[in-house]
Structure formats: structure tokens, C-alpha cells
Symmetry: none
Subunit: 259 residues, 2 copies
């Protein structure tokens, strides 16, 4: 597939810098979320804990990805020489297997539905997300374009189910949210849809004949940007929702106490 | 025994990825449990602290196992070459010696029995668990199949005692639990039984003539999955039990206060 030695030294370090940027953003978001956790009402703390877990898990995997990238080639006299240790693409899948279901659970938790509904939606959406990642992996590591296409199609089934659930299935739940966060929750749902759309497109690059150095740079930097939007930016939106809902609930309570 | 150089590079990195996945799951579960500790009633905080300790100890050992795995071979020009540093199986035993007794203590603590009963059951079950691990180790490192079989049998005695205690001995204690968690506590007990059954079976693989690359992959990935179920999934069930019991107790208290 896409081979790292075809890169120029400049391209190689550009991707390495993107990974380092990803690591820094994920780690910083994690620390922010966990330190600010006590500022939201107790009912939202599990949502914020998990939001920080997602970026923490991503930070760990960006560290692994960055190290694997650096170890796959030696830079000697201005050229890249393969060390024989392959660049480990699988870290991305291991990361997604954990973080993608958790991302959907964040969104469900911050809506504070009934216990039953929270549980049902978490199982359905989280399960579909895990299935989507598991079905994507055999195609990612396959050499044949037929196998890659097959698993792309299989993986798109749970993907489309999740999109349908986010657009249609959560409509009632979103309608029941307080006015001051309705738009933000919609933003969060659309952030998922837009950032996630990037992944299946990139997956198809090798099938579209997009290969070579610039394609590899586009894929790795593109995944990194998509991850930052889907996890860190999304996480900060979730935090803002939790904060606004906490404030609104405190106002209601103190108004009730005054009566 | 099973030798790492017989693996393909793909198999070698698959196992390495499974270890990395195990590390991420254990560390994430630990952080979740410790951050959410304040959400359970004070009477359950020791149970949750220990539940997080178990996954923390496991995370540390998965890091050690992953590094030992990586250091045992060099990947050069698409082949594995032994470095001479042996892959250290003992980390698993050191881990189990600490975590397996603690796992049973978690389950006892979350039931909140009388002080006397908690103490008795912790000593009995925790002691049996430690004995089981200690008796397993000499067989694991033995070259002779006779020694391996002997210590398998010796180690099965405390194992069967623990199973008997979980199925029969805890029956009265489980019967005294509140309705809303009875099923969850049963689930936790059966989760122990099912996930633990995996270990003595894998231990017998070399005796059954199951060797070579795929067997090594099956053993290492299988142990990792069993560890995740027995420690992380089990830990989240324990947390859910503690949370539900805390909520039920608060409800009872506030109902009593209203009278």
C-alpha cells in the first residue's frame, strides 16, 4: 500500500508534526475536561468523565502512532531509509474501537434521558459503532481491492444506521431538551455526521488510485484533523451543553426555593 | 515452549496491538472508576477504590507485557529475529497474584455484609485465589508435561473451591441483597466463573499438543480478552451495583426524613 519511503523528508516530518499536534490537543482537552468536571452538576459528571476519557485514549494512541511513524524509517543524509519495522496503522482502529462507541454515549448521557432510554440508546448506538470499526479493519489491511470494497460496504451499514439514528431517532429526545441547549445538541449531532463522513472517503483513496507520497500525507493529516474535530471539538461542545444545563437547573431550583 | 520467532510479522503485531488495547482499556477503566468514586455512597467507596486498583495493576502489567513482547524480537526486512531476551510470561502471574484475590474482595465489599462476614469471606476467597495462582506458576515454567499436569491439578483444588463458594456459599448473601441489584450481583458472580474458566483451559494447550504460531496468538489474545472481561467489564458491573445501591439508600433515607 502507501509506503513511507516514497515521502520527502519534509513530508515525513510534516506528518510527524501533525501527530504531535494531535497528541497535544487531545491531552490538553482531557486535562481541561477533568479539571472542570466539578463545575457541572453531579448529573452530568459521568458525561464529562467519559468525554475526557475519549480524548485521553486518543492522546495515548497518538503517542503510539507518533512513535511507530518515527521508528519506521531512519533519516540519513537527507533521505528516508526503511528500518523494516512497519508503520502500525492498527493503532487507529484500536483507538476507534474504544472511542467511537464512547463518543455516542457522551452525547446520550449529556441529554439526561430516562435510565431505560439511556441504556437502550447506548447499547444500540455503541454496539453499531463497534461493529462499524470491526468490519472496517479487515478491508484496511487487505491487499486486494475486492476485499477492501466488500468491507467498506459492510462497514457502511452500521454507519448509515448511526447517521439515521442521529438525524431521525434522536429527534424526539432533542425536542425534549431545554431551549438554551437545543441548538448546541443539534450542533453536536451534526459535528459527528460531518467529521465522521471523512473516514469512509479516505478509506476509498487506494481504490480511487490516489496513492504515493502526497496521498499518504493527505490520509494521515486528514485523519488527524477529523479526529480532533470528532473528539476534542465535539468534547468541548458536550462540556458547554453540560455547563448550560447545570446553570439552568440551578436557576430553576433557586427560583423554586424562593417561592 | 511456544516460540515467538515462529510467528509472521502480521501475527506478531496483532498480539502487540491486543496488548496495547488491553493497556488502554485497563487504564481508561481505572480513571473512570476513580473519578466516579465520589458518585457512590461513602459505604461503597472502598469497593470502587479496589475495583480501580485491580485495573490499575493490570494496566501496569500490560505495559510491561507489551514492552517485553516488543523487546523479544527485532523486525528487520519483513522477518522476526529473536533478540535473545525472552518474553516474560511471569508478568501475568505477578499480576494475577495481586488482582485475583482483590477481584473477589471487590465482589464481597459491594455486597456490604456484616463486618465479620466481610472479613471471613475475604480471607477465605482471597486466600484461595492467591494459593491457586501460586500453585499454577511452577507448572507454567516447567519443561516436563508431568510437572505441568501435577500443578494444574493442585491449582484446580482452590479454583473449584472458589467456584463452589461463588455458586453455593454466596447464595444466602446474594438473597439478602436489595431487589434492584440481585440480578446484577448474580451477573457479576457468573462473569467471574465464565471468564475464569478460560485460564485453566489455556494452561492445558501445550499438553494437548496445541503449539506453534497460531496457538501462541490464541493464548495471548485469549488471555487478554479474558482479563478485560474479568477485570474491566466485571469492574463496571461492580460500579453499577454500587451506584444503584447508593441511589436506593438515598431514596429510603429521604423517604424516612419526610415522615
Amino acid at each position: 500500500m502507501l509506503s513511507i519511503e516514497t515521502l520527502s523528508v519534509g513530508q515525513f516530518s510534516f506528518v510527524g508534526n501533525a501527530f504531535s499536534f494531535g497528541l497535544a490537543v487531545m491531552a490538553a482537552t482531557t486535562i481541561f475536561l477533568w479539571l472542570m468536571r466539578s463545575s457541572v452538576a453531579p448529573g452530568y459528571r459521568m458525561a464529562i468523565t467519559i468525554t475526557g476519557l475519549v480524548t485521553a485514549i486518543a492522546a495515548y494512541h497518538y503517542l503510539q502512532i507518533m512513535m511507530s511513524w518515527d521508528n519506521s524509517v531512519d533519516v540519513t543524509s537527507g533521505e528516508l531509509v526503511a528500518t523494516g519495522e512497519p508503520y502500525n496503522q492498527a493503532y487507529r482502529y484500536v483507538d476507534w474501537l474504544l472511542t467511537v462507541p464512547l463518543l455516542l454515549i457522551e452525547l446520550i448521557l449529556v441529554m439526561k434521558l430516562s435510565q431505560q432510554e439511556t441504556w437502550n440508546k447506548s447499547i444500540k448506538l455503541g454496539g453499531a459503532a463497534a461493529l462499524m470499526i470491526i468490519l472496517g479493519y479487515p478491508g484496511e489491511v487487505a491487499d486486494s481491492t475486492g476485499v477492501r470494497t466488500l468491507f467498506w460496504i459492510l462497514s457502511m451499514i452500521p454507519f448509515l444506521y448511526i447517521l439515521q439514528q442521529l438525524v431521525v431517532g434522536l429527534k424526539d429526545s432533542i425536542a425534549s431538551q431545554p431551549e438554551n441547549v437545543k441548538r448546541l445538541i443539534n450542533t453536536a449531532a451534526y459535528l459527528v455526521i460531518v467529521s465522521w463522513a471523512f473516514y469512509p472517503i479516505v478509506y476509498l483513496f487506494p481504490l480511487m488510485g490516489i496513492t504515493g507520497g502526497s496521498a499518504l500525507v493527505a490520509v494521515e493529516v486528514g485523519y488527524t484533523i477529523a479526529d480532533i474535530v470528532a473528539k476534542a471539538v465535539f468534547g468541548l461542545v458536550i462540556f458547554t451543553i453540560a455547563l448550560r444545563k447545570s446553570e439552568a437547573e440551578t436557576d430553576t431550583k433557586s427560583a423554586a426555593a424562593k417561592k
